[in-house]
Structure formats: C-alpha cells, structure tokens
Amino acid sequence: MADTTTGFAVLPDIGLLEYNGATFSSLFKTSVSGVQVPDAAGRTVKYVEWTIYAEGTVTLGSFQPNISGQLAVLRRLLEQFGGTLTYKGKGLGNVVVNQPGGTLYDVAWGPKPKLLEFIPLGAGGPGSAGQLSAMVKWTVTTCIPEVPPQNSVNAGPGLGNVLQFNEETGVSYDDEDYSTITIRGTLEIPLTRYQGNIANRNLVQTADNYRSRYLELVADGFDLTRFRVTRRNFNVSRDKRTLEWDFVLEELPPMGLPPLATHARGTMSARSEANSPALMPYTISLKASYTIRKDEGRRYAWAAFVSLWKFRMEQSRNGVVPQENKKAPQDQQPVPNLPGAGEVIANPLAAGFKATRAIQTALLTSQIKAVQKNTPPPDGVIAIPMSFGFDEGLYLDSKVMTFEATWFLPVTFTSILVASGVWLPKEGAIGGGKLWASSVRDISGAKSWLRNALDPSQEVIVDFAGGQP
C-alpha cells in the first residue's frame, strides 16, 4: 500500500494538516486567510470562507524506490471536493471540517481544493527510479459559519437550517395609479456531502425543501383583499443550495373576483333602443369570462355568472316605468327611494358545492349557509332575459368559461343607472373581498394546486471527468 503521508517527520510534530486522508508531515508550512462572506443584503456574515495555503515536502516513503506512487495517491486525495479537513495546532484552534459524525461541516459543498502544485526537489534516483522528493503547494478553501449551526430536522447533524433569508421589495404605480408590489429574495441553505461522507453522492434535501416553510410566511403577509398575486418564481440553483424567489402582486380593482376564480374579466353594457331615436327601453348585456382554479369545479364559473346576472337584473326594481295616461313630463316622475342594492345574492349555487373538499375557510362556509335558502326575485322587477349563451374553451383554452346574457329593461332614461345595478355590488359576483382571498390563499404563496416539489432523491453528484474512473 502506498504511503499516504508526505514523509516521516524530522521536526517535532506540532500541529496537524490533513485532508481527505492525506496527512502533511511536519515538513510543511501554512498560511490561513479568512474572508467574511456577506449575505445578499450585505448586512451580516453568512459564513467565513477560510483559505489554507500549505507548502510541504514529499519525501521518500518506507521501502519505496521513488515518490511516484505517493504523488499519485496524494493527487487523488487532495483534488477531491468535500473531504475531511483537519487543521490543528496552528493557532486557529482545532478545526475539523466534514468529519463523519462531527459537528462542523462545510456549508457550500466544500472543502474545495483549489491549487495543487508539485515541485521536484534535487536529482532523481538512480537509473529510472524516479523522483525521490518534491515540494507540494496546495490550497484548500472551506466555508464554515462562525456560529455553530443548529441541527436541521431534515438534514444530517451539523447541517444548519438556513444560511440566509432576505428580500428586496419594490412598489410601482402604473398610469392608472394602481400599485404593483414586487418582493424578491434569497433563501440559502448549507449543503455538503451528507454527514461528511465523501463517498455519498446523494442529497437528502435541497433549498426547495424550505420553500413552503419560509415563503408561506411571506405569503401570509399578503393582503389579498387588496392585491392578487400575479407572478411567482422559485428558482433553485444548480448546487441546490440557493432558492431565488420573487412575488409580484397587483392591486385589485374595485370589483373583487368571485371565489375560486384565478382570473375573471367581463363587461356589462346598456344600450337604448337602437332602431329609433329613443332613450328607452334598454337592452343590458352581460358578458364575463372566468378561470377557476384547476382543483375546483368549473361549475363555479357558472355560479359566479348567474349570481351576478340575477343580482343585476333584480336591480331593475329601482327603475321607473312611466304611465301613458299621466301627462306630467316623464323626467319629472320621481325615482323612488333607492332600496339599496339589497342582499347580495351571494351564491345560492355555492350551496351545492358544500360537499366539495374543504378548501374554503369558515368564512366561505358561513356564506354558503346563508344563501342556501331559496331566493326568489323581489317584487317589482321589470326585466326579462332576452338571450343567453356561453363559450367553453376547448383543449388549451379549457381553462376559460365565458357566459353572456342580455335582458330587456323598459325603464326611463332617468332611472337607468339605478335600475341596471351599475357598479354594484361591492364584492363582485359572489363574495370577493375576504371570501375570494380565503378561497385562493393556499395557491397564492409558495405553491399551487400542484406543489411541484423538487425531489432530492433524484439528485446525484456525477463526476464525468474530475473523479475516479
């Protein structure tokens, strides 16, 4: 077996430098430098990058004709990443990094040797015996936290939880003065060979394992009664230690979205008689498109539409229909005292969904119970449905359901606004506000209905050219 040392010491052995099983004998000198690596915010040190520069002499081993065998072994040992590094008795304390079962581990897939230089010394041996001694210059870098890391639940002993978690934020206002909030940050965890075992090429965790744990805390702070999350990115670095994440939130318009809808757009149009000059009667058109979260029924789109349709039609009871045998000017016929928008029809249809999986909060549940009762149109409604249609998106468009309806509204010009329900109700077709917020909260944070969790077991470190054959 080849000697794995740089030779027998002739000086007192004070201190120890050993890496990945290769031990420097006392014929070496070292210098150590440390760089404090700040977190992305530049406010604190996430770890110290220690660089040890060593110069040692390889001398002929016992019963060896030359040092060729030693050098081959040393080269293999000193070039590998993630080995156990021992550096003692040099005034830096007893530094033992990546020792299996130890307490101190590199946090960035190190220690990482960076330089290996051999300088033959003196003449070679007799004949073709080869070189008898050489100088070795070698540099290794190891990243270790100054504060002893906490043991991780999922990681092996010594692997701290998180090295850094910070963010930057931005607020922008568009030309309509609506806000967009951007939150972008970094989550970094320590990783090295599992439990310091350089032969272990598998991962037991990645930064993605911390995605939900940390970023749901961020998402909990979103005010979904005012904003909706329009973009989320979670990018895991190639070494699987760093998760760069960002959220973009856009301010909601006055009309909130119906529950479970991730997208809803539409228009209500009112047009007076088109065939002759007239300011009455009116045809009201309602058209809206919905995208319902994928893990809920697309029937919710219909629930949202029919609820809004019914609500708006029922506002016709605020309208005025003049009487032909009254000769007073029609525009002087008073609009009755507005009874208000009345009960938001909320969503009688939602009652049928009470058996669906309990994603809704207690708020939605209580609302559903409140509208389970039959809700006949109130008295005095003066509108009639005229047409109805819908478009089902197919294939790649099957996210979207579109409904449209028109109704006839024979009310005066003076009362058309109050009879059409324009800009009512406050909370959208069914709910909106807190109700909508609660119905999409779980898909507005670190995940969606598909969690898309990175599987650490699929990760393996492969050396195509830098490792052993």
């Binding site: 006055p254 009309m255 994928k294 893990d295 809920e296 029924g297 029937r299 029919v306 019914k310 039609m313 029922e314 229909v321 009487q323 032909e324 045998n325 000769k327 000017p329 029609q330 525009d331 002087q332 507005l338 928008a341 249809l349 009652a351 049928g352 969904f353 058996a355 669906t356 999986r357 039959n374 809700t375 006949p376 149109p377 005095g380 409604v381 509108a383 009639i384 449905p385 006839f408 024979p410 010009f413 003076t414 009362s415 606004l417 109050v418 324009v422 800009w423 009512l424 109700p425 406050k426 909370e427 969606s448 209905w449 598909l450 969690r451 898309n452 969790a453 990175l454 599987d455 699929q458």
Partner: protein, 235 residues
C-alpha cells in the same frame, strides 16, 4: 435513465391511500344545484310590453270627379322624363331638371262634385309582449265623431318566442272604420305602450340626467384619508 426532478404530487403533499391525484381532480358531489335559482321576468302585465306600434291611417274620398273631354288636337305625348338613359344622353350627368311636369297639351277638363266627402280610417299596428297576449286595439271615435267599423277587420296573435316557458306574443291588426258625420277635430295618435308614452305627452324643456347610486365600495361618511407626508416612527 429517466430524470424525474419533481416529486409525485401525492407524495409531495403527503397524501396516501387516495385514488385522487393531488392537484388534478376536483371534488363535486354531482348534485343538481340550480334548483330554486330563479331569474326575474316582466311578470307585471303593465311592464310586459316589449315592442308596440299603433297608428291611424286616414283615407279621404273628397266626392269630386274629373271628366275628360275628347282631345281637340294631337300634341306630343307627355312624359315625366327630363333626360334619357337609353340611349344615354351625353349631358345626362350634368342634367339638373328633375321631374318633367311641363305638358305639351292645351286643354281644360271638367270637375264635378258627385258626393259628400268620404272619410275612411285604418287602425294599424303590431306589438310584442312577454307572457301575455296583445289586446287588439279599436276606435270608438275618431276626429271627434263616432267611428263605425268597416267591413275589413283583421287582427291576429301569434307566438314568436319561447323565453323558457314564457311565450313571447306578436300581434298585428288592420282595422277599417268610416264615419257618417264630418270629423270635427284632429285625432291624437294612439299611445305607445311599449315606450310608455302618449301623443299628448306634456313636454319638459329639459331632460333630467340619470340618477346614480353610491359605488359599492362607498360608505356613508367621509373616509379618513392620509395622503400627507409619511409618519416616520421614532426609533
């Protein structure tokens, strides 16, 4: 070798013993849920008129006749044409003459009263109504005198639409009347019950703009605003 970087969703979400693929299926008990959800319609007959037009046509036979004596000469035939397109006049595009009423004849016909004036009135119209048939209108008087139904009377109601169980009725009428006394005053046209207005409607010099209602986000008190300088908390 296949790379599957992302976990099976059931595994990722900790779901075991379920045939439901997490994140894919939605739950729906399949019940009929729309029962009891009703839409309004124009149930009150007064509001049920969707279209209506009704008018009175007046036909007058003045009782006068025109006698045509034999011609005493043979002038060129009269024509209303002031230009010709076949063959096309060279100056047709610049012709500005309009209808040619200049006769080539030179004659005087004889006019004779044969009877009193004969007034005939036709009440015509159509209507569309939701749910209810359209009453065929009639005249009791016209021009200030009694109207007498003539021999021609036509009216019909038919269903032209089905609004989910509510028939949409369409009607037409063509009713003739005569009078045996000379009319004494102008006749106000029939009202339009769909537009809810009568011909003798009193007019207003202005039109009232539509009344509005509070925005759904409005509250009944002035909201507290704080658009001034931001308040910086003391450390």
């Amino acid at each position: 070798m296949v790379f599957r970087f992302f976990q099976d969703e059931n595994k990722a979400q900790g779901i075991t013993g379920s045939q439901v693929q997490a994140g894919i299926s939605n739950a729906d008990d399949g019940r009929i849920i729309e029962k009891g959800i009703t839409l309004p319609w124009l149930f009150n007959p007064r509001y049920s008129w969707m279209a209506y037009q009704c008018w009175i046509e007046c036909h007058l036979d003045s009782g006068m006749v025109l006698h045509k004596p034999l011609p005493q000469s043979n002038p060129e035939p009269d024509t209303l044409a002031s230009g010709f397109v076949s063959p096309l006049d060279n100056d047709f595009e610049s012709n500005v003459a309009g209808v040619n009423l200049k006769s080539t004849g030179n004659y005087t016909d004889v006019v004779q009263r044969m009877a009193n004036s004969d007034y005939r009135f036709v009440l015509k119209g159509y209507g569309m109504r939701a749910g209810y048939q359209i009453p065929i209108p009639g005249l009791k008087s016209v021009g200030g005198v009694d109207a007498v139904p003539d021999e021609r009377q036509f009216g019909q109601n038919t269903i032209v639409g089905n609004c989910s169980g509510i028939p949409i009725w369409y009607a037409e009428w063509d009713l003739w009347y005569f009078v045996n006394l000379p009319p004494t005053k102008a006749q106000v046209p029939p009202p339009n019950v769909a537009l809810h207005i009568a011909g003798d409607q009193q007019l207003s010099p202005t039109i009232q703009a539509p009344y509005s209602q509070p925005d759904g986000n409005a509250v009944a008190a002035i909201p507290q605003t704080n658009l001034g300088p931001a308040v910086v908390p003391k450390p």
